[in-house]
Every structure is written in structure tokens, then in C-alpha cells.
Amino acid sequence: MTPRPGLVLEVDRSTPPTLFWHGERFVLERLPEGSRIVYAPEPLDPLEDPVGAIRHALLHPIGDRDPLPALLRPGMRLTICFDDVSLPLPPMRAPDVRQLVIEQVLEMAAAAGVDDVVLVAALALHRRMTEAELRHALGDRVYDAFAPLGLLTQHDAEDPDNLVHLGTTERGEDVEINRRAATSDLVVYVNINLVAMDGGHKSVATGLASYRSLRHHHNPRTMVHSRSFMDAPSSELHSSNWRMGRLIAESGIKVFQIETTLNTDTFPRQFAFLQRREWEWSVRDRAAFAATSAALERTPARLARQVFHSIRAPHALVSVQAGEVEAVHAVTTANVWRQQGVEVDGQTDILTMGLPYICPYNVNSIMNPVLVACLGLGYFFNLYRGRPLVREGGVVILHHPTPWEFHPGHHPSYIDFFEEVLSDTTDPVEMAKTYEESFATDPWYVHLYRTGHAYHGVHPFYMWYWCAHALDHLGRVIVVGGDPAAVRRMGFSPASRLDDALEMASDVVGRSPTLTHIHTPPLLMADVR
């Protein structure tokens, strides 16, 4: 049966309560009559032969690129870069699509007699992946062939010996990337394009870059002018990356881009109710929801976190394209929209969203308050093309426990950011001016980023900048069920229940507001007319 497209449901008296994520839990909320609920399209059918499709893409590239085997020759330097642990979400069931792609690339390289091959995890300023995470992404065969020989590396944005400054763009943006990639005869970049923001020139220009380079587009001004950064033509973030990407190409660095899109089959069968429309829940779905909710109510938060982070998504490959960066990315973006796009008429006064336990920066970790803000106001708010789902001056209501809790190993600078910076200012521009440099160059954060599994010292700033467009646009942000102190620290308003939040929102949007709810999972992109 053909997957059904997304839809916008208008809530009436017969509409059952709506599912909201709430961190490591979920709740049912009854939305006011007249509210709209945006449901994502159903997951697309997977490719029947993913390996065959990958080989086909490598042999039939898009744009001005020869087939991969034609680019491979003995004696060349080949660098294969791949997206890190932040994609996909949740981590997908083995075999990961990166493994499938890289195995094919390696097979072709071996056939061509290429023996100088290095794999690079394109971390940018993210934390280094653990061995288990690398094994999951690449498979044991690839890991065991490369890691013991030191040929599986993770990009280190703080290693001056392994960075090359390629020049500056016409806007004066420094382009500094990984030396191995910059000095290779061919860079093969393996993407997982979970959302429309991913991929394109952003892969190399961001994933393999240094702070010196990244600060030109990861800043409040760029973020406010990225409307949204899920829509590349309207995104200053992407414009900057594209300028950098073209400079990289002009520098003689040849990139063979491989982009993949997955369907939105996000949770395994026992959580199937999460992806179904509530009025279509079967008896089995209702029983599963009731049982799961009851069990989670009795489960300590830490254990619940472990349970959820152990989930492996049944994501399946639905498209793969390879070749020249821009040509490939145009097709990829269309495929992402095909899976996730929903047309929505007009904006709303209040936008509600339930936030899950995971975002790109807390895989196997804790979703700290800054990441809650980033997921809600950075990612979900920006899941639009055209206009934001919520009108200017409107209200966003987030549903999340927002605990005042941080992973000390993964997010050490977040702790100080939360204590030192957000207690002083929540203004992205002000914090960039006053605090960013000192966090970015803090030797302890640099040490932990390079030697441990810590995000870079500047990373919490980027997460807050990610919210800049929303903060600039919205009249108020309310968090339902969050730790009041943590919520207030971020300049938001805590509410204990959705009804209270709606009452509080009326101070901003009046007594008869329109309300729209983004129903996730699965992910969707709103095409707001």
C-alpha cells in the first residue's frame, strides 16, 4: 500500500487526546477544539536492494563527476569521511547505512589498487565517538581493518598540525579544514541526510572545519538570517557553507559526495503507537501505550534513559545519490521533502511540541536544558519552509522535563555555560561578544575535546545560537513539566500543565488564539503557505 502523505487535522469534539513526547516519557493531551495537528507522511517504502542502489549511485554519479571507479587509481591518497554519531536519530539498526556505503567504496578502491586510504569521522566540534559507536557506524570488518593501523581517525579541530587554511571567501570567511582531506587526491564524503539541513557543502565545510572557520557561520547573525536553515536557499548558514565549499573546490580538492536519505520508520514495533495517528490506534496500540506509560512512570529517570538510548531505529534507506556536491544535494533535498514535507496553510499563534529524549548532541548521553532549548527552538521551530509555523510574536510551548542535569564527560562546558553565561544573559549577541572566545579557547575544554569525549568548549554557544531565530521571532516560550529553575535560567516560563501554559500564553496572544501542534515522531517539515 502506498504510504499516505502528511496531513493537517483540525481538532473537534471527536478527536482523541494527542500524544506528546515528554523526554523519556510521553503523555496524552487534549488540545482545544479548532487546534491543528500536523502529522508527518507515513514512512516511505525502503529500497529493496540497498547495496545494489549504492553501487548504482557510485557508478552513475550526478553532476560533473566521473563514476567512482574512474576516480580511483593506484598510488593515490583517498580519504573517506563520514557523518558522526549525531546521525541518524535514534541510531539505526545494524547495518548502519554508513557501513553499507563505505564497504562499497572500499571494495571499489581495492579493485583499483588504492592502498592509501584513511577514514575520518567528520566531527567538527562534536565529541569523539567511542569504539562501540564507531563499530556500530562502520561495522566490525571496516573498524578492525582500519582502526588498529591508525587509519580510522576522528577530525580534531584543535590540532594545528592537521589543519590547512585554504584561504578566505569573497566575504572574508576563513576556510580551514582537515589536512588529510585537503591533501588527498579524492575525498569521499558519506552522508546521512536525516533532515534537509544536512549535507551539501556543509558536509566538508563544517564537518571537517576548525573553530576559526566555523565561527563565520555559527554565530547569532547568521542564525537569525537563516529562515529556515532547513531551507538552504533561505539560509545564510548554507550560503556561507556554499561559499566555503566552492572555495574548497577551487582549491583543487575533489569531493565525491554520497548522500543518503532514510525513511521515517523511527521506532521498533513495541513503540509502533508513537508513529500512528491516535484515532487509528488499535487495541494493541492502546495496550502498548498504557503498559509502556505505566512502566515508565515506575522507572527511575536514569534507567528510562538507558532503555531509550538502547533503541535502534528500523530506519531504512530510501534514496542514495552520489557525485558532485551541489547536484547531489539538490536531489537529496527533494527526497527529504518527499518523505517529510507537509503543506500547512497559514501561521499559528501558539505552536506546541513534545520533545523526546534525544537530539543530535546527546546520543548515549543526557539531554541537558540547553539541548532541550536547542531541540525545541533550534530544530523543531525551524522545521519549515516559507514562513515559521508560528507567527511573529507568537508563543511556543515545549513539553519536556528539562532536568537541571548535565553529562560531565560529554558536556563539561555546558555546565559552565549554564551557570556562568545564562545567569548573566540569554541574548545570543551579547553572549557571543562577552563570553564566546573565552569558552572556545579554554584549555581545559580543548583538552577534554581532544582527548576525551567532550563537545568543544564553544558548542553550547552554538546550541544557543541555533535558537536565535526563534528567540528573535517569538513573544514567549513556555515549558510544560520542566524543572522551574532550569526553565527560568533560560529565560523561559515554566508551567506545570498544558492548560496552565495555554492560560499563560493568552497574556501574549489573547484569549482566542490559534494553536498548531507538531506531531512527532516521525519528523516532518512544514511547507507553510
Partner: protein
């Protein structure tokens, strides 16, 4: 006349120690402190004066004594029975208001020639506090012959102990002078040069007084001050006050190590951990004022001070258990800061370091000068109107409540608790926000 007397009574001492396990100040009713009818103490000589207390504060060292947690070191430096109370604003028989400087040094003991410390004006370091014409006692409030502030019978004081109170001072301002003098001494003795990162651990009366002294004395050019003052304060009202008094930042005590690490650009030796602090730092604050004086606060101070930095113990420590390996390996100076005397103030060596401006002032600081610590304390209290730190006063017959309140001051949103020994008509306007629980005995 009603007087609180602390007697040597081992059974009551043991009971107070036991009760204090449930919280400081809980032992007032069962410990060695008793409310009695007493006559005024005798004048040791004709030059001594009688002082009728108006307000008398309850300080951390009083609480430690009442809790039975004071160090046995003091056994030979006090005499029983004594009337506690060394933070005193009172009045003379002439009606003039005075603040008592309670140290009982050589001058008060009629020792001539005085000891070396007293000759230098450092009577806080007096070597003869157990000798001379008075019974042993380092201060009024711990000496059997002088009386103390927690009494309607009054106390006796040597003229060298008396400081007139300006008319502009409320009694509440005046009663803060003695603890602020302790803070001024700690600050003056810390050898600041205007460029340091300073951490203040604890923000009770002493911690806040240190912050106030740092800002007021540097503003007046008396000491170079610090480049940044980071305060670890447990309670929100303490954090608010610390910032009002001049702290660069005031945060929870468990966050102080992180803030110091950030400020000093240090690394941390331990792996990041779930507990709040970063553990021992490779660098750290130039000076840490430990205004708590516990094993954990000293250990925390040693973790966050830089190599060859200085930890100043402002809060009275007792017997503590501390790993001194970091002190040894990092060559840390651990210094006590007790009482007061005479301070040498002004820019270091009469000029700012390296000829650079200090706190924005031009390098014209002039020569160093000697000044009494209490004079500095009066200036600090005046600059910040520190009478506002007096949170509640109690009549002496409600001493159990008063002491319990003082023992839980931070938790109950208070700073300084004092006994009010004034008559109802005699009270001056209390600062706003202060809670008066009735002062009529």
C-alpha cells in the same frame, strides 16, 4: 541583672556537643550557657570604663563554643565563668556610644613593656593573653574578669578598647564593626596587588564582610583590591548580598571551583565527574578566603588555589582532617587571619605594581601608611551601610531562640543575629528589612 554566663561544666559541655549534631545552635538550652542574675564586673583599675551593651552579636566562634566544637587549644586562653559577647556596641556612663575592640592585649593587662606584637600595634597577636592582671582570655567575651556583651550588667573595658561611634551610625551599623574589622585584617594581610583572582568560600557574616572590605578598601585606595572576586555562597540571599557588596560573581559553593577554573584558565586534574566541582586544579585563584573553616572548606580551598597562592583562614577552624599533600606539592601558603590591630595600607611599596594603574586609579597612590584595623572597618561599614546585615535581634531571655536562629542563619535567610539590650524607648530606627523580635528584657 540578666546575664548569660558560660561555665565550665563537663556534663553540659558533652550534652551541647551531642545536641549540636542535630544542628548548630541547638544546644543553648542544655549546654554550659545559663541565664543568671549577675552584678556588674569590678573595674580592674580606675582608668577602665563601664560599658552598657546596646547590641551584641552572635558570631561563628560563639556558636562553636556553645556547640562544644571549639578547639581545645583555647582551654588555656579563656577563663571561666565568662560572659560571652565580643561584638558589642554599647554606651559609657557618659552616654557616649562606643564599639568595643575586644582583644585583651598587653595594654589591657598592664604589661609594660608590652610584647613584641603589641609593640608593633598587632595586639591581635599578643603573646600575653593568658598573663598580667586579668584572668586568661584572648578577648572580652572569653575572660572571667571583664564581663561580656550578652549581659544587662554590662562589661568593663580599657580605654584602648573603645572606639567612639559616629552619629551617622545606627547601632546595627556599629555592631558590625568588629566582624568587619576581622575581614579588613584578612584583606590587608592577603598581599593583594590589584591583579589577582580572589575566591571567597562562604558568605555568612565573615564572607560578606570580606567582600565588602575588598571592594570598599580598594575603592578608597587603601588596598589594591582584586581583579575578580568570586564568591561561593550557599543561599540565594547571600549571593544577592555578595554581588551588591562588590563580588564579580556569586555562585553556589559547589560551583566555585568551576568558576575559578574558568577565570584562571586552569586545567583540572581529575576526569570530569558527576559531582559538581572540577576537583583539584592545575592553577587556580591567587587568594582564597576560607570563611567557613571546616575540613571540607579547607580541602576545597586547597583544590582551587594556584601554586604558591594563599589560602586565608578567616572563619575559625577547629580540629580538621585535611590532606596537605596539595599544599606541599603546590607550595601553597596557608595563613590564619585572626582579629585585628594595625594595618599597613596603601599601594604595595607605596606605588602600584609595575607603575600600572590599580583599579583604574593612576599610579599616584602615595606612600604606605599605618592605620588601625577598626578605623578601616568603620569606613567599610559606612561605605556599604552594613547594618543591613543584622537580620534579627532578640532579648536576652530568649537566648535559646536567638542562638538557634544564628546557628541556622543562612538557611533562614539571615546573616547576623544579635542580642538587643536596649530599652524600648532607647532603640534607634532599625534598618528596613530587619526583624526585631522585641528587645525589652
Amino acid at each position: 541583672m540578666k546575664t548569660l554566663v558560660f561555665e565550665r561544666n563537663l556534663a553540659r559541655f558533652a550534652a551541647s556537643r551531642l545536641a549540636s549534631n542535630f544542628g548548630s545552635g541547638r544546644a543553648a538550652g542544655i549546654g554550659p550557657l545559663r541565664l543568671v542574675e549577675a552584678e556588674p564586673p569590678e573595674l580592674p583599675s580606675t582608668e577602665w570604663r563601664r560599658v552598657t551593651p546596646r547590641l551584641s552579636g552572635i558570631c561563628g566562634s560563639d556558636l562553636a563554643t556553645l556547640d562544644g566544637r571549639s578547639s581545645r587549644y583555647f582551654e588555656h586562653l579563656v577563663s571561666f565563668p565568662f560572659v560571652p559577647g565580643h561584638e558589642v556596641v554599647g554606651e559609657l556612663e557618659t552616654g557616649a556610644r562606643i564599639v568595643l575592640e575586644p582583644v585583651l592585649g598587653c595594654a589591657t593587662r598592664a604589661l609594660d613593656p608590652p610584647c613584641a606584637a603589641c609593640r608593633r600595634g598587632m595586639h591581635g597577636d599578643c603573646e600575653r593573653t593568658a598573663f598580667g592582671r586579668l584572668a586568661p582570655g584572648i578577648q572580652t567575651g572569653y575572660c572571667a574578669d571583664t564581663g561580656g556583651g550578652w549581659s544587662h550588667a554590662g562589661l568593663v573595658a580599657h580605654p584602648s578598647q573603645l572606639h567612639p561611634v559616629p552619629d551617622s551610625f545606627s547601632d546595627e551599623d556599629a555592631v558590625m564593626v568588629e566582624p568587619v574589622a576581622c575581614a579588613c585584617h584578612a584583606v590587608c594581610d592577603a598581599q593583594l596587588r590589584g591583579t589577582e583572582t580572589v575566591a571567597v568560600l562562604g558568605a555568612g557574616t565573615l564572607g560578606l564582610a570580606v567582600v565588602a572590605a575588598l571592594s570598599a578598601l580598594s575603592a578608597s585606595g587603601r588596598v589594591p583590591g582584586a581583579a575578580a572576586v568570586l564568591v561561593g555562597a550557599k543561599y540565594s540571599h547571600q549571593r544577592r548580598l555578595a554581588v551588591e557588596l562588590g563580588a564579580t560573581a556569586a555562585i553556589g559553593p559547589d560551583q566555585l571551583g568551576r568558576a575559578v577554573r574558568r577565570r584562571s584558565g586552569s586545567l583540572a586534574l581529575a576526569e570530569p565527574r558527576a559531582s559538581a566541582g572540577p576537583g583539584p586544579l592545575t592553577g587556580g585563584a591567587d587568594v582564597v578566603f576560607d570563611c567557613v573553616g571546616s575540613s571540607s572548606s579547607i580541602a576545597q580551598s586547597l583544590e582551587m588555589v594556584r601554586p604558591r597562592g594563599r589560602v586565608v583562614l578567616v572563619g575559625m577552624p577547629g580540629r580538621v582532617h585535611v590532606d596537605l599533600a596539595p599544599l606541599w606539592q603546590r607550595e601553597v601558603r596557608l595563613a590564619g587571619a585572626y582579629a585585628y590591630g594595625t594595618e599597613v595600607v596603601g599601594p604595595p611599596d607605596g606605588r602600584p605594581p609595575d607603575g600600572r594603574p590599580v583599579d583604574g586609579r593612576p599610579p599616584d597612590g602615595g606612600p604606605a601608611e599605618s592605620v588601625g584595623t577598626f578605623a578601616l572597618a568603620f569606613a567599610v561599614v559606612a561605605a556599604h551601610r552594613l547594618g543591613r546585615l543584622v537580620s534579627a535581634t532578640y532579648p536576652i531571655d530568649r537566648f535559646e531562640e536567638a542562638i538557634a536562629h544564628a546557628g541556622a542563619a543562612g538557611r533562614r535567610g539571615a546573616v547576623k543575629i544579635a542580642f538587643d539590650l536596649r530599652g524600648t524607648r532607647d532603640r534607634r530606627a532599625a534598618p528596613s528589612g530587619r526583624q526585631s523580635t522585641g528587645g525589652t528584657p
